[in-house]
């Protein structure tokens, strides 16, 4: 019997620290598989965010930056202007990208920076214990919205894909999920396409991945996949919002 599934070679042979049922574990692996398939491990540079994925560099075997909260797109702008021939990606959570880093990602997209942003949207600030995030759903309970998010007081969630799609510099914007096998396969395809868009020099690409956060949501892993399916996807529809102009 041949090997049908194994750790991608772009990943270090270590255990990841993510919680059981967390989307990060899946996406880290998909990212490494794409890097393997595109054979770009020696040309790719990524940023690890402040968030649960802060130790991304312990798992991915490629040149990596650890950057300040939200600043990934600015750092990779500076990096990519020096090395336009290398492949640059940021990996960010929803606090990192949609809260403190909102300006940086919008402007990187507006400038059409040839970088790829992997945006892990779990509607909560995971690492710090489960506080409200800019993508927390109306009515969603978090440690800072114990009665559920009241939009009148705390504002409305931000749909980042829709927002960035309005920008000329954004070439490929897609939202996906990893709550069931079909979506996991689609997410991998999206990540691969995003990197290809970058490598063709077509502009800014972003893959938003709706992700389970059992710990942050105080749910079991199974319940959390259901939360993505029944609560998140209706609010954050999946699909390609912008396609590259070839």
């Amino acid at each position: 019997m041949g090997i049908i599934f194994q750790r991608p070679s772009s990943m270090f042979p270590v255990h990841t620290h993510y919680c059981a049922g967390c989307g990060h574990g899946i996406v880290n692996r998909l990212l490494a598989e794409v890097i393997d398939e595109l054979e770009i491990r020696e040309q790719v540079i990524g940023t690890a965010p402040v968030g649960c994925a802060v130790f991304l560099y312990n798992y991915l075997n490629c040149d990596m930056f650890e950057v300040a909260h939200g600043r990934g797109p600015a750092v990779m702008t500076g990096f990519k202007r020096v090395h336009p021939d290398l492949v640059a990606f940021t990996y960010q959570g929803d606090g990192d990208l949609a809260s403190i880093g909102m300006a940086e990602v919008i402007h990187a997209a507006a400038r059409g920076e040839n970088i790829t942003v992997i945006f892990i949207n779990n509607a909560v600030f995971g690492m710090t214990g489960g506080q409200m995030a800019p993508t927390t759903l109306p009515g969603q309970k978090t440690t800072t919205t114990p009665q559920g998010r009241t939009c009148k007081i705390y504002g409305h969630p931000i749909r980042v894909c829709e927002l960035l799609s309005t920008l000329e510099g954004a070439a490929y914007i897609v939202r996906s999920a990893v709550n069931k096998p079909q979506n996991v396969i689609k997410t991998k395809k999206a990540i691969k396409k995003a990197f290809e868009v970058q490598m063709k020099g077509l502009g800014f690409s972003m893959v938003e991945v709706l992700s389970q956060c059992p710990t942050g949501w105080r749910m079991s892993p199974i319940e959390s996949t259901r939360f993505v399916e029944e609560e998140m996807i209706p609010y954050y529809p999946l699909g390609e919002f912008k396609q590259p102009k070839v």
Binding site: V54, N61, F65, V67, M76, T77, F79, R81, V82, A103
Partner: protein, 355 residues
Amino acid sequence: MGELKEKTLLTGNEAIAEAAIKAGCRYFFGYPITPQNKIPEYFSKRLPEVGGVYLQAESEVAAINMVFGAAGAGARVMTSSSSPGISLMQEGLSYIAAAELPCVIVNIMRGGPGLGGIQPAQSDYFQATKGGGHGDYHLLVLAPSSVQEAADLTMHAFDLADKYRNPVMILGDGYIGQMMEPMIFREKKDKVSIDKSWALTGAKGRLRNLIRTCYLDPKELEQHNLNIHNKYKAMKKTEQLAETLETDADIIIVAFGTVARISKTAIKILQSKGLKVGLIRPITLFPFPSSEISTMANDDKRFIVIEMNMGQMVEDVIIGAGGKSEVHFYGRTGGVVPTCEEIVRVVQKIAKMES
């Protein structure tokens, strides 16, 4: 006269930018703020001419992070701003110092705090020399007092940044930035090759490189801090720079930047009135030339620290004097620049005082 024919008339801002290009800087990320706008404008014209990249960032926060990225990529990179913008860069500077990345930052100081004013001030001395951002780190800080020196120190700054893998700041003010003076770009004699094998360039034919600042294990983080501080110890030993005049005088003015040049004129006037006054002009504000002060300090000496702030460098002079000398302070702030005549009167008054 022959030497003068080669001189060129440039503003401090332009001289700094051109000096950076001559030092091999090919990347500039910045944001407009008075009174340093000529720097990004100059770069926007010149960098494309030399195959470099100029990019206006969306904020100073973004700019300093772009610097982080380009520095991590192994390039010589600069940013510039003025006081309120430099405040926005503090997080980035802490990260750059912690990641041990080289870069040059220019602060053309203006009156503060808050939005303040746009006239010259020296009120960012503390911010520049004592940290500014969080954590135990320092910038190497250079303070020019003329357009010529601004250019020379800029070229020196890039070498220091690479040598120590540390951010270096050029601390100027609106006069130095905006005024034109004759100057000449000195050709660099020996190009020192710097090892940048730590840079992120794609993990081809080597182990991957990691640029990080997070060390959750306290012992590891302590060691990281000790390593960084060894660099500051080395800087203190070999990089201190100061100009000194007539240091055998009993009254010594201590001043930097624009105030120092105005003081020099005041000293000449005092001399003509029969009062001998010396000058210590720190050029490196970090490492501060405290050894100059401490060797000079004794019962007879009086230091008069003159600054465009409410009293910042004076603290370092007091520490340097170690209680052996009186240290007086005279300051103007908010964008008010002391006149030569004012300084003469202040020194005369202090000279008359009983010990």
